[in-house]
C-alpha cells in the first residue's frame, strides 16, 4: 500500500474531530454482538464465529475490542489441530457392548451381513477411524470383512488385502465437520487406490447435542454444521457417479452406491 496518511491542515485538524466524526457507530452494541458471536461457537459454528470476529463495523476493524481479541485467542487455543487429534483414539475407553450402536454402524452392519449371506467378504476402507470402534464391534458380531484404514495414528489394526470380487466400502463417519478442507475426504479416498462400490459418510444433524455453553473449557473439534442439503451438495460434488440415500437420526447419513 503506497498511501501516506496525513491530516488535512495538519494533525491539529484531525485531533479536533468530534466523537461523531471519528466514524464510531453510535447505534451498535459491540458487547451484544460479541455475545451473539459466542452463541455461534456454542452452536458448533466456529467458522461463522471467526467470520463475525473479522466482520465488525469498520471502526472496530481498526479499533478491535479487547474482548474480540480474547475470544479469537481462546478459540484458537481450544480448537483441535492435527497435533491434538493425534493419538486421541488411544485415550478413548471403548464400549464394545453395542448398547449404543449408532445408526450409521447399524446400517453398515446390515450391509455386511447381507453381503456375507451372499458369500461376499467385503473390503472396508475406513477414513479417520478414531479408535477403530466400528471395526472392533463388527468383528465382535462375527462379521467377515477385510479392513484397511487411514488416520493420524501410527498404530492400528493390521491391514488385510481384499478378497477377489469383494465389494469395496469406503466410510468417513463424523469427520467432515472437523476438517478445514472438506476435500481431504475425497483426497484420502483416492489414496486408498481402490474404487468403492459403496460410500458411507455421516456428520451431526445440525448442531451436535453434546455441545455445551461453556466453550472456553471444552475442546473444540467441530468447525461448522451441515443441513442435509448442504451435506449432500458437497459430498455429491466429491463422489460422482453414485446413487444416494439419506438417513437422519442425530446424524445425517449418506449412502452412495455406484451406478
Amino acid at each position: 500500500m503506497g498511501a501516506d496518511i496525513v491530516g488535512f491542515n495538519g494533525p491539529e485538524r484531525y485531533a479536533q474531530m468530534s466523537e461523531l466524526a471519528n466514524g464510531q457507530p453510535q447505534f451498535f452494541n459491540v458487547d451484544r454482538y460479541l455475545d451473539a458471536t459466542e452463541d455461534m461457537i456454542n452452536a458448533d459454528e466456529v467458522e461463522r464465529a471467526f467470520w463475525m470476529l473479522d466482520n465488525l463495523p469498520a471502526y472496530y476493524r481498526d479499533h478491535v475490542p479487547a474482548r474480540a481479541i480474547e475470544i479469537k485467542e481462546s478459540l484458537h487455543r481450544q480448537l483441535f489441530t492435527a497435533v491434538q487429534y493425534l493419538s486421541i483414539g488411544q485415550e478413548i475407553d471403548l464400549d464394545l457392548t453395542l448398547s449404543n450402536f449408532p445408526g450409521r454402524a447399524q446400517i453398515l452392519q446390515k450391509m455386511i451381513e447381507r453381503l456375507n449371506s451372499e458369500n461376499n467378504i467385503p473390503h472396508l476402507m475406513d477414513y479417520a477411524p478414531g479408535a477403530h470402534w466400528i471395526q472392533k464391534c463388527l468383528l465382535q458380531l462375527g462379521l467377515r470383512f477385510t479392513y484397511e484404514w487411514k488416520g493420524l495414528d501410527y498404530d492400528g489394526p493390521p491391514e488385510l488385502i481384499p478378497e477377489p470380487d469383494a465389494k469395496v466400502i469406503f466410510t468417513a463417519f463424523e469427520i467432515i465437520e472437523h476438517l478445514s478442507n472438506e476435500w481431504e475426504i475425497y483426497q484420502n479416498y483416492l489414496k486408498f487406490s481402490r474404487p468403492a462400490d459403496i460410500v458411507m459418510l455421516s456428520t451431526p444433524f445440525y448442531s451436535c447435542p453434546k455441545s455445551g455453553p461453556d466453550w472456553r473449557n471444552q475442546a473444540l473439534g467441530h468447525l461448522r454444521t451441515y443441513t442435509p442439503v448442504e451435506f449432500m451438495n458437497i459430498i455429491g460434488k466429491m463422489f460422482q457417479g453414485f446413487e444416494w440415500e439419506c438417513f437422519t437420526d442425530e446424524t445425517i447419513i449418506l449412502i452412495g452406491k455406484k451406478k
Binding site: M1, G2, A3, D4, I5, V6, G7, F8, N9, R13, Y14, M17, L20, A21, N22, G23, Q24, P25, Q26, F27, F28, N29, R32, Y33, D35, A36, T37, D39, M40, N42, A43, D44, E45, R48, W51, M52, N55, P57, A58, Y59, R61, D62, P204, F205, Y206, S207, P209, S211, G212, P213, R224, T225, Y226, T227, P228, V229, E230, T248, E250
Partner: protein, 258 residues
C-alpha cells in the same frame, strides 16, 4: 417442528439484535450475510424475523433503477449544488481538488476533470464559483441530473480531454454505495483515458454515527471502509500512482501518477 439438532445455547434474539446493530452502522452487506449465517438448524427452519429484515433491507436500499430515476434527486437546483461546496458537505475533498487545480492554473495548465458520480454538480459549480479554469465531463446514473449539470457547466463541458492537458479522475462518496466497488473501476477504465491525478473519497468508518431509523428511511451506504481497506483498494484498482490519504469525516485519497 423437529427440534433435533437445534442448538440449545444459541439466542436468536441476540443474533437479530447484532444484525440490526450492523445495519445501523452502515454495514448492509455484512448484515445481509449475517442473515444467512445462522446455525444449520435455523438454515433449514429459517426464522421469519430474518426474512423480514432481509425484505426490509431490499425494500429500503437504493438499487440502480432508483438511482437512475429518483425524482427528488433529479429536481435538485443549481443553488443546492453550489451550496454543498461552501457548507462543509464537501470537506476536505473540495479543498484538496481546489488546491490541485489552482496549482495547475498557476502553471498555465487547464485540466480536464472526469467526475464519476457527479451527484448534484457540486464539483463543477464550486470550481466555477472559486474562479478555477478547467474543462469537465460528469457521469452519473440519473440522466436528468447529468443533463442539468451539463447545462450549468456550459462551454466547459468536454466529452474528451484535449491532448497535453492534465487529466483528473474525481470519484467521491460513491464507493460506499457500491455492492461491488470494482464497478467504479470498470467505469473509470471504460473511457480509455490515462489519468494524471485521481481523487477518491469515502466516509471514514460509519458516517455520522449511523442510522437509528434504518427500517423507515432510504438506505444508500452498503458498507464502510477503514483507511487501510480504502488505500489498499485504490492501490490495487489503479496501479502506478503515489497515494496520499487525508483523514477526516470523509477520507480522501489523492493519487499522482508516478
Amino acid at each position: 417442528m423437529n427440534e433435533l439438532g437445534r442448538p440449545k445455547y444459541f439466542n436468536l434474539e441476540m443474533h437479530i439484535n447484532a444484525i440490526e446493530g450492523m445495519i445501523r452502522s452502515d454495514e448492509i452487506q455484512i448484515a445481509l450475510q449475517m442473515c444467512d449465517q445462522v446455525p444449520g438448524w435455523y438454515r433449514d427452519h429459517y426464522p421469519p424475523e430474518l426474512e423480514a429484515i432481509k425484505n426490509t433491507l431490499y425494500r429500503q436500499c437504493y438499487d440502480q433503477i432508483e438511482y437512475a430515476t429518483d425524482d427528488e434527486e433529479a429536481n435538485c437546483t443549481r443553488a443546492f449544488g453550489e451550496a454543498q461546496w461552501d457548507n462543509g458537505y464537501m470537506f476536505p475533498r473540495a479543498e484538496i481538488i481546489s488546491k490541485i487545480i489552482r496549482k495547475m492554473n498557476e502553471e498555465d495548465q487547464i485540466p480536464w476533470i472526469y467526475d464519476l458520480g457527479c451527484s448534484h454538480g457540486n464539483l463543477p459549480l464550486g470550481l466555477i464559483k472559486a474562479g478555477h479554469t478547467f474543462t469537465y465531463r460528469g457521469a452519473g446514473m440519473n440522466f436528468r441530473i447529468q443533463e442539468k449539470v451539463k447545462s450549468w457547466v456550459g462551454e466547459r463541458w468536454a466529452e474528451n480531454p484535449l491532448p497535453d492537458r492534465p487529466k483528473i479522475l474525481y470519484c467521491t462518496e460513491v464507493l460506499e454505495h457500491c455492492f461491488n466497488p470494482h464497478d467504479i473501476v470498470h467505469s473509470a477504465h471504460k473511457i480509455g483515458v490515462e489519468f494524471d491525478v485521481i481523487i477518491l473519497s469515502v466516509p471514514m468508518y460509519t458516517l455520522g454515527g449511523g442510522l437509528p431509523d434504518w427500517n423507515t428511511r432510504r438506505i444508500g451506504h452498503v458498507r464502510t471502509w477503514t483507511p487501510k481497506e480504502f488505500a489498499d483498494f485504490a492501490d490495487s484498482a489503479f496501479r502506478g500512482y503515489q497515494w496520499e490519504l487525508t483523514l477526516s469525516d470523509s477520507m480522501v485519497l489523492k493519487g499522482m501518477r508516478k
